[in-house]
């Protein structure tokens, strides 16, 4: 089927690859169908694009790519709801925030991971409680050298 997106135009999607959010992405309760868009192959970033609202697309990533020590436990009842029978079926990723004009200060939300059952595509945004994670964990450690200020600035 075809899906409209505001960033990438019309995208042809295999219906098997549409995620079904059985619990919502917080703030987007009316949207339940999403796809993972492969923007650049081999990139640690993807887009979680709504199949229902062309304007809604979250940049997402995988903390492990950035050397972030990240593990969480899926509550038993949530795993049951997702229909998970083993860990191999699980895919998880996190929503990032890339500030305009300041990509090196990109952050990732570690408190509300998106979890997907790869077999039946049931998905949800978990809310992790009793964890010390941040909703704004910095993605990039290295500092990018800034261009030097012009020296002859009159004050």
């Amino acid at each position: 089927m075809k899906i409209n997106t505001s960033r990438f135009g019309e995208v042809e999607v295999d219906e098997e690859l549409i995620f079904n959010f059985i619990e919502p992405i917080l703030g987007y309760e009316n949207l339940t169908k999403f796809i993972l868009l492969d923007h650049t192959p081999d990139s640690p970033f993807k887009w979680l694009q709504s199949a229902e609202d062309p304007n809604v697309a979250f940049p997402v990533t995988f903390p492990a790519f950035f050397g972030i020590d990240y593990q969480f436990v899926i509550p038993e009842e949530k795993a049951k709801k997702l229909g998970l029978t083993n860990a191999e079926e699980l895919l998880s990723f996190n929503i990032t925030c890339v500030p305009q004009g300041n990509a090196q200060n990109a952050t990732v939300n570690l408190v509300g991971p998106i979890v997907v059952n790869m077999v039946n595509k049931n998905s949800m945004q978990l809310v992790l409680t009793n964890v010390s994670f941040s909703t704004k964990h910095k993605l990039f450690n290295q500092t990018i050298p800034k261009p030097e200020k012009p020296e002859n600035v009159l004050s």
Binding site: L17, G27, P44, E76, L91, A103, N109, V116, L139
Partner: protein, 101 residues
């Protein structure tokens, strides 16, 4: 909104299976105990609001050029990539970029 007044130690029952007890009050603080089935999600409103805000900000901030800049920051651990990326590729949808046509 239903408003009820309770004393310390008194309870509220919701839907036969959720029990809320006022355990303690001290100044502005109220300590509440909740007994509920495991499938009932309970969290402090702040956590919920914080995630909601992060979600909304993610969409508000992102632009394609910025996204491309982030992709090109060479800080990710490429050696981790292959196995997980293959798993990912199996579930991702490819974009036909205009310049590929």
């Amino acid at each position: 909104m239903l408003v009820l007044t309770r004393k310390k130690g008194q309870k509220l029952i919701i839907n036969d299976n959720i029990e809320i007890t006022i355990l303690e009050t001290r100044g502005d603080n109220v300590k509440v105990g909740i007994n509920a089935p495991k499938n009932v999600s309970i969290f402090r409103e702040e956590i919920y609001e914080e995630i909601k805000k992060a979600n909304e900000q993610s969409i508000k901030e992102i632009s394609l050029p910025e996204f491309n800049t982030a992709i090109n920051i060479p800080d990710s651990q490429k050696d981790f990539a292959s196995e997980y990326l293959n798993k990912l590729k199996s579930i991702s949808t490819k974009i036909n970029k205009p310049d590929d046509k």
